[in-house]
Symmetry: C2
Subunit: 145 residues, 2 copies
DNA sequence: CTATATCCTATCGATTTACTAGGAATTTGT
DNA sequence: ACAAATTCCTAGTAAATCGATAGGATATAG
């Protein structure tokens, strides 16, 4: 079980935007350059972030992206879910509470509760971490640049 | 982010073995039949469980698999990790504590702690759930069959 | 011996992941 | 008006992973 680069890069994009919140629109190229990532790839990710209403885009020269909400109002969970669809450990259980179980009817789905519990715990965890928590780190140099 | 069938099926195998702990070796075929899963596929999973020293195999007719430890001594984390390699949200961080970061040196890896934190939390969670917790459920019919 | 099992290796179709390519549309500055 | 910068959109693609299948070698109970 792991998070993919989609989630990882997306959080990086959002952190980058948080740190440059006072600089007006930030171009994706500058973000890609700073983190040494593919701009085209990030493009697809930030498209989802835009659809999820987490960032606002400004087209044209000197354009770029701006956070749509305060970093204290955006959770890591929102970010990851917007690009990954869901953080559910097991797909089917994210859709519905009843597990589409293929077991013998006599055999109970003893593991069902486990996945629901894991799913909820992971979601709770990422929903408790705000973008502002990642930016305001001791020893960070937000005041320098 | 999700757990795959590898982890899910493996837990099902282990729960099945737990419930039949007094019946001697349990054949994989019977497990596959009960849960309506592919025996060949489970074979690959239980191979990992054996390597991880979670089950013992008995070859030949009337053979099968037996739990190597008490269900109260086996965690869900051990099971999932043995078939999935790692439960780390991000691969690199499971190997080492230092993130192999490709960022501009001036740009700090602000998200590093996040993934470490997530990894540790998920691991902690699955390591706190024992096989015995999944079997001893209220309303379960372990006494019937 | 034979049936029942585990064991081992190889393959395979489908899906997802990470990434690339190319161009249309929009806006700023000259 | 024009050029440069930038978002926006679609399509494709190589590699990895996932879920599963196939076929046979090895071992053991009866």
């Amino acid at each position: 079980m792991k998070f993919t680069t989609r989630g990882r890069y997306s959080v990086q994009i959002m952190v980058d935007l948080s740190r440059r919140i006072s600089e007006g629109p930030v171009s994706l190229k500058s973000i890609a350059d700073r983190h040494n990532l593919s701009e085209s790839y990030l493009e697809q990710l930030i498209c989802e972030l835009r659809k999820a209403d987490l960032v606002r885009s400004v087209r044209g020269a000197q354009g770029g992206y701006v956070l749509k909400r305060d970093p204290g109002q955006i959770t890591v969970g929102e970010i990851i879910r917007s690009v990954a669809g869901s953080i559910a450990p097991v797909d089917c259980e994210y859709q519905t509470e009843t597990l589409s179980c293929s077991c013998d009817p006599d055999e109970q789905c003893l593991t069902r509760d486990l996945w629901v519990r894991l799913r909820d715990s992971v979601n709770e965890l990422v929903d408790s971490i705000f973008l502002s928590d990642l930016v305001k780190k001791p020893g960070d140099r937000t005041d320098v640049d």
